[in-house]
Symmetry: C2
Subunit: 338 residues, 2 copies
DNA sequence: CTGTTAGCGCTTTCAG
DNA sequence: CTGAAAGCGCTAACAG
């Protein structure tokens, strides 16, 4: 391995000068800079990040924590897309990204502890938000820089997060259904433990309220995220005496399953039932029918969270931020007039 | 930050003893071990990974390189799934995982150089395999431990890789179609730059040959991966005077698009056309019809590549390995007799 | 079984 | 504008 000393020797200066050249210290003459850089190139010198981190007592690296992966929920294209967004900003800032996956909550917790205590990273991005989350509590207690993608369960004003206005989006997309003449509208969501589900559902309810439409408990279904492809949800629906004519589904991937089940029952979308959902992942444009869905700008969620986190790692006094990424409804073919 | 010295002081031993306790060196008495561990717990001590890596001149970390992300191909659920597989092994081995995403090939190349030269990682997993890939060449020249998921373009016997037998899988799944009475069988694949496409296609061709079915150039379509949801592919198909009755599609996600387009043209699957594909990602069971597809065991691909890489980082003389993950055809509803 | 010492590669005062 | 020296936290001979 070629070190700073080798470069120093070759270019006839001291190691400290080389170090300054690396940092592009203005107090070094252009001449020596040139000389040193030439030597670096010749030798193929690259600074050793561990040595550097050791003295800097900090790491230009962030940890990205995926939700626990016991189920297939991780197969959601949401994740690669948000990683892309994070990666882009990370890369521009010359940071690196540690990815942490884990089967169980406990495993994840241990892993985060390791990342934090071992000085692996100088900040953490949580790709989920759950109630009573040990990881969140730990990070807060440690006063360690972190960002939640989504809405924190507690201490909302103390934890920086980047989120969509899921309430408003839920309301708006439900209103779209209402405006199209629907009044019997159902909601199918993933686990209520996830805040995003709640927010979208609450938006849905608010839209009904405003329109003077009564809630029907039997129209609200929570299916385990991705489990059984929405089979239970649709079976439940079928057991009802009057079917809804519109469906608000909290995730494109769930919609895909619902669409499939609905067809099995001979129910056509959008002729018999209209359906709207959330996320606008790639596949939502290639389903039949193509989905009218809320584009939540996943890439941007990732990019902004990385940006905010990096700022925070660079300045501990950075204030707590809430960053709301605007959404946009994408109108396609899954809705018709009622 | 609490260091090894603090622990030493509290427990009344020297730093090196503490170090030995951490490494669970057998030459330390159980008594002192207990004493030291107690102090570590009290103080909340955790070893600093940078200091450790610095002296060890190695890093228990691997870099995972995603393909360039100019298109939406990354939204393929393949990726989160393979990351899960890698993560699991990484975690058990107490390693960490650096994730590298990049827009362009050049960006990725720079990033890999950084990871390697800067001693960020001690091995690399490439989640793609492309012809004339600078990254592969670089890693080879550096004699840096790395694994390709897929088949290397060149130096196949020198580069460890984990792959499926895509040729055989392609042949077998095509045979399934043939056994069901089909003889006009088309192939729709992603970019031919990707080896996986070629292998699957060659398997398809071999099956035709064996069955004495002539190739038809117009039945082989290469659509840019995911682009336009297979629209061009299906349009091309429609322009033909005689349609195929069976379709081998190289990726579940492409199948989804094809399914959708076919429906648009009023062609029913499997009644009018049978369709088989590859990967068996979650969504392939919730499409309509559910897909008959090759389960390539994505998770296992990830896990085995991580395992092989870790072995290689721990023993430079580990021989070059080719690891073939068995596949399994999952029969569902997208095929019917012809 | 344990302590002393040197040093990993780099940055950063402090001198000059 | 540049060099010498100290030290980041840890490990690994080498002594004892």
């Amino acid at each position: 391995m070629v070190t700073i000393k080798d470069v120093a020797k070759i270019s006839g200066v001291s190691p400290s000068t080389v170090s300054r050249v690396i940092a592009n210290n203005p107090r070094i003459s252009e001449e020596t800079k040139k000389k040193v850089r030439k030597a670096m190139k010749e030798l193929g010198y690259h600074p050793n990040v561990n040595a550097r981190n050791l003295v800097a007592k900090s790491t230009k690296a962030v940890g990205v924590i995926m939700p626990s992966s016991t189920n297939t929920a991780l197969q959601n294209p949401f994740f690669p897309e948000i990683l892309r967004g994070i990666g882009s900003v990370i890369h521009d800032a010359q940071y690196s990204m540690y990815l942490s996956t884990g089967e169980t909550e406990e495993e994840i917790f241990k892993e985060v502890q390791r990342l934090v205590y071992g000085s692996y990273v100088s900040g953490v991005i949580l790709l989920y938000s759950r109630i009573n989350d040990k990881v969140t509590d730990f990070l807060r207690e440690q006063d360690f820089p972190f960002i939640i993608v989504g809405k924190p369960y507690d201490y909302e004003t103390e934890i920086s997060h980047v989120d969509n206005d899921n309430f408003k989006a839920g309301k708006e997309i439900t209103n779209h259904l209402i405006n199209m003449g629907h009044s019997r509208i159902g909601f199918i969501g993933g686990s209520r433990d996830l805040f995003v589900t709640r927010d979208r559902e609450n938006g849905y309810l608010a839209a009904l309220d405003e329109a003077g439409i009564e809630h029907r408990e039997e129209y609200k279904i929570h299916t385990e995220f991705l489990k059984s492809g929405g089979r239970e949800a649709v079976e439940h629906l079928m057991s009802l005496d009057t079917l809804p004519t519109g469906l608000v589904v909290s995730d494109d991937l769930i919609s895909l399953g619902i669409l499939s089940m609905l067809e099995e029952y001979g129910i056509r979308v959008p002729q018999d039932i209209s359906l709207v959902s959330f996320n606008n992942v790639y596949l939502s444009e290639i389903t039949r029918p193509a989905l009218t869905t809320v584009d939540i700008q996943i890439y941007e969620l990732g990019a902004q969270s990385a940006k905010a986190l990096i700022e925070k790692t660079q300045n501990k006094n950075e204030p707590t931020k809430r960053i709301i990424i605007p959404y946009k409804i994408v109108y396609r073919d899954s809705v018709s007039k009622c």
